[in-house]
Assembly symmetry: C2
């Protein structure tokens, strides 16, 4: 029996896929990593037991395992490897909600949006909201410690993880944490897996902390004729109140969105902010008024406030639409750098300088309230020289962020695309500590080799 036949025999029919056309579609995530190989198989288990069988087999034969959620990752965390397998969690889709403990137990293959929808039926809310929430999986969110728009107030994925079931490299299944809001028994190992990008284990079950349904928000939109003015307003706001959203779009993004949506955005603005407060009752409106006034004080050319959720949502949708809209101009290298908030304007102007130097269009959108920006580097893949300039810019933007005390990745993960820059941010001691943990949990190095570490 060949190595692969052994795997096929260990799992229910149809779990192991070797059809070349299907394999092709699992080679890349959205990062379209050019180094992608072709896996020997795609494995789609339906249970923790099956994941254990896969990893026992992979350990025994030293086969590289690339865990994959819905393949929406932007850093090449799920790039397939020649001779390895892709372990897709897409078929693991159970969820149960306990409204009394305000927790949900979800399998990793559910979409973020499906988790939100299911818990909403109980009047509950799962806050983290990556822009890709309608197409990304909750398992992938765990792998990258995904963020989103509401994180400025509500925190990131790890803040909602109470417990995990994880299958380790050798096939051992471990339960960490559980539906207890406070639990300090043993090391906080559940947190260690949130953001580990599939390098330490495969998450097969997630116990999520939920909140009561979100209140409807008051929304404020403001346009500025300089990026600095907008960035200064952000800092003035976050020092005083806790907005539930504080999003930034630059001129390129505004125009790209307006090209598509024709909603009357100001094409001459250098920057647009979309801010919201979901504090209840008059407090939300007070926050909105405070933000509008702060925007004005900082030179906003126009502000618009609304307490109508649909009207507000239209602007949020415009912000969410920025990436596909800019993508209409060419292929994108999508950056994810973050800085301490006071450095936001410097980061944006640094990006503009890089764009000018390399004769590139780089649009900046940002979760401004937490200093996390997404410079969108536009290039034509048919123009090899341009693509090379885009790659250079991609690296230089990370260098600028690190130089400002920032991070090479705020919420997308290191994956394979950003790995060469990781040591520059972490330094040798923290890199060594990362390697020690990896070595302790995956001594054979079969889990997502080449990603993150």
């Amino acid at each position: 029996m060949s190595v692969l036949q052994e795997l096929i025999a260990a799992l229910p029919d149809g779990t192991v896929v070797t059809d070349p056309d299907i394999l092709e579609s699992y080679r890349h995530d959205r990062a379209a990593d050019p180094s992608a190989g072709t896996p020997m198989a795609v494995v789609r288990p339906r249970s923790t037991d099956e994941v254990q069988a896969v990893l026992r087999w992979a350990s025994a034969h030293r086969v590289a395992v690339v865990p994959r959620g819905m393949g929406t990752g932007l850093s090449g965390g799920a790039t397939a490897l020649d001779g390895g397998i892709v372990l897709s969690t897409e078929k693991m889709r159970d969820i149960s909600v306990d409204p009394v403990t305000r927790t949900a137990v979800a399998q990793p293959g559910l979409l973020n949006a499906e988790v939100k929808k299911t818990v909403a039926e109980y009047g509950l809310w799962y806050p983290p909201d990556p822009s890709s929430f309608e197409i990304c999986s909750i398992g992938g969110n765990i792998a990258t410690n995904a963020g989103g728009l509401c994180c400025v107030k509500y925190g990131v994925t790890t803040d909602y993880v109470l417990g995990l079931q994880v299958v380790l490299a050798d096939g051992t299944a471990v339960r960490l944490g559980g539906p207890r809001l406070k639990d300090v028994a043993g090391l906080p190992l559940n947190k260690l897996f949130v953001g580990s990008e599939g390098t330490l284990g495969v998450v097969t079950e997630i116990t999520l902390k939920l909140l009561p349904a979100q209140q409807s928000a008051c929304t404020v939109v403001a346009t500025f004729d300089s990026v600095e003015a907008a960035a200064n307003a952000v800092v003035a706001i976050t020092g005083k109140i806790r907005p539930s959203m504080l999003e930034f779009m630059d001129s390129v993004a505004i125009n790209a969105v307006e090209d598509k949506l024709r909603m009357g955005l100001d094409r001459h603005a250098a920057a647009m902010m979309v801010a919201a407060s979901d504090d209840r009752g008059p407090a939300g409106a007070e926050d909105a008024a405070f933000m509008a006034a702060t925007f004005t004080e900082h030179g906003a050319t126009e502000t618009f406030s609304t307490s109508d959720p649909n009207e507000g949502e239209a602007f949020v949708a415009a912000r969410r639409f920025a990436i596909p809209a800019v993508e209409a101009k060419g292929s994108l290298l999508l950056e994810d750098v973050g800085v301490p908030l006071p450095a936001l304007a410097k980061l944006v102007s640094g990006v503009a300088k890089i764009a000018a130097n390399h004769d590139l269009v780089i649009s900046v959108i940002a979760h401004a309230g937490d200093g996390n920006t997404h410079p969108l580097i536009v290039y034509d893949p048919a123009d090899a020289a341009m693509e090379q300039r885009a790659q250079l810019a991609f690296g230089e933007i990370m260098d600028v962020a690190v130089g400002l005390g920032g991070t090479i990745t705020g919420e997308h993960g290191v994956g394979r695309l950003k790995r060469p820059w990781l040591a520059g941010q972490l330094g040798p001691e923290a890199m060594e500590l990362n390697r020690r943990i990896k070595q302790a949990l995956d001594p054979e190095g079969i889990l997502n080799p080449g990603a993150a570490l």
Copy 2:
């Protein structure tokens, strides 16, 4: 040069203390662990460099190091060991606040209350509020992932840790994370140290996330003639709103507090709830009205609501005073078990059964909103048989909690007192994973041996 002289020579004068009277005062934390030894020295470094020197020395000579904050721990996490040293961080007291990034960088020796006070000068707030906040250190809070009263809404210590500087067993200093609200570069190792009870490294600097100043709260106090009624009301509340406090006291605690404070508490009540909402404007009062109504629906014999912060604070102070008040009745074994919220009433009745079986007074107070209870086992240390019964009860309470899907420790840590029960909660796979991480970071086992793991 003796081993100890080598340490003395490596550090500034006065850093290493060997005076027997002083050593005596560092043998125990508040758990008064009877197994405590006498350390060869107490070392009180003032900087990361000095901590590195201590750990290099300890590694070279395989000397056990017991890290210690202010010695207020309740699980024996800082019990001294014969022939080891106690590394006290009490002299490391620097703090700087950046109101723009809404972060503080604190050394571990500051009291929690000092951190709160310093950041309040900038209009900011550090939420976690263990009842011991006036005497416990922020470093100790990191070690145990401390909780408190406001955690039901605002989360626990780990939710506020953005970055750490940690000295590892071999003396390497590592920076993890930093003043960035989102950062997923590398494994989330800063979180691994929060709650690691000094077993993986010594934290020398902490970057804390802060919030804008808390709004003043509306407070609701309610008395019940059964514990079940109070527990049911808790679940009805947390499913609907996010109170900023939801505290429980049983009849023994009510009477003990009333004995001391004479504030007119209902001595006939079986349970008292102290609840609050700090939502802004009318929302806080709405929440308070909702909680009062819910208490009444669930059979409260009396409810009292106030939006006067001083009046509210008097009841919070009464709740905080419960432990010293009950302590007036005898020595205490202070438990810290937690359960998923629906099991709260079962846990409390289980404790009552254990008290009856062992002819003991056990008072239960609880951070009810997150299912975290503190059964206070009263005993007379001069009565050996009673002390033994108290010890039995201490273990049985943990067994009941684990049997209800709960935890042996919600916020105090495992330390040495609860270590025999840890495997029963975690199971063999998670225990093995804990040991693997410990082995990877502290292969010689010099850091807090015998604690937690």
